[in-house]
């Protein structure tokens, strides 16, 4: 009797953990579906730019970040120097530093496994899920986040695989302006962010210098123009406050 009671108690949390994980996954589903076009875009772009299907898939398995993956594939295809590539990836993902800082109070007491696990799964989408006052505050909420983040990871990889399949099956289709689709995604990410004068200055400076550097064939033009944009925006902000 007592034994079975114990067993019952032991299996109960596990069951409940699974239930909250599933709830996390279902709550995440709209966002998982929303990134389908980007996953497919990335997969087919990787094929078009000459990566193998395995390399393309590993991007999503290992890196798991839409913007960084698109940036990396574009830059590798343009024979960007490796140092420049690393730097760009670091700068593009630097917003994760800010996420880490915001979640530090809640997550830094958790075990290494939770921190590495949820840290790896931390995307813009999962971070958007983290605004609740009590998120990550209990075991259940940790499992909930694991379900949300984990399902998003699986979805992203499925969409990538679909894109790779499309890229391999329809190689002609992929010539139809995938580059433009990438540009449009970035436009959609940047323009809504331009809410203040410093950001506007940052974007204009970055745009102008990127054109000038490319026109004069400067190898590190991309990094330089990103840096100039950041500094101009920052400078403008300092001047105004």
């Amino acid at each position: 009797m007592r034994q079975s009671g114990k067993k019952y108690e032991a299996s109960q949390p596990a069951k409940k953990h699974r239930a909250v994980m599933i709830r996390g996954a279902t709550d995440m589903l709209p966002l998982s579906l929303a990134v389908l076009p980007f996953g497919v875009l990335f997969g087919s772009l990787a094929i078009q730019k000459g990566f193998t299907w395995l390399e393309g898939q590993l991007f999503s398995v290992i890196i798991f970040s839409g913007a960084v993956q698109l940036v990396t594939v574009e830059l590798v295809a343009e024979n960007t120097p490796f140092v420049a590539l690393l730097f760009m990836a670091l700068v593009v993902s630097s917003r994760h530093f800010l996420y880490g800082l915001r979640l530090r109070d809640r997550l830094s007491q958790q075990s290494v496994r939770w921190r590495i696990g949820l840290g790896f799964l931390m995307t813009d989408e999962l971070f958007a899920f983290s605004n609740h006052r009590r998120s990550y505050a209990s075991k259940y909420r940790l499992y909930y986040a694991l379900g949300a983040g984990g399902s998003f990871y699986v979805a992203w990889n499925i969409w990538t695989a679909l894109g790779i399949f499309a890229g391999v099956a329809l190689p002609d289709l992929s010539n139809l302006g995938l580059d433009f689709a990438v540009a449009a995604v970035f436009i959609a990410l940047v323009i809504p962010e331009v809410k203040t004068v410093p950001t506007l200055i940052c974007v204009l400076a970055s745009a102008t210098s990127s054109l000038l550097f490319l026109f004069y064939g400067f190898e590190f033009g991309l990094i330089a123009s990103a840096g100039i944009g950041m500094l101009c925006g920052y400078g403008m902000q300092r001047v105004r406050t």
Partner: protein, 89 residues
Amino acid sequence: MTRYLFLEEKLPLRLGSNISQLLSFSGPAVLTAIFIPILFFNNNELDISISNAYLWGGIGAIAVAYKTKNVYWTMGFGGILFVGVGVYF
């Protein structure tokens, strides 16, 4: 790594407000430096002619992104303009 770093309890660091202000411009700066050349350059040559479909699509996408702030409208409208201009010329 960037995601994990600050979840480490032992890390004594606090990001200075100057650095985090500078970093807040990183997204727009980097992405702009990537998408602007896609619109203006074809095969490493500057193309600001009226037949540059990338440029038309880009202008349309920027306008829609500004108005709607929605990724799908932006991609949809920009894409239609891009294909339309490409077919016309």
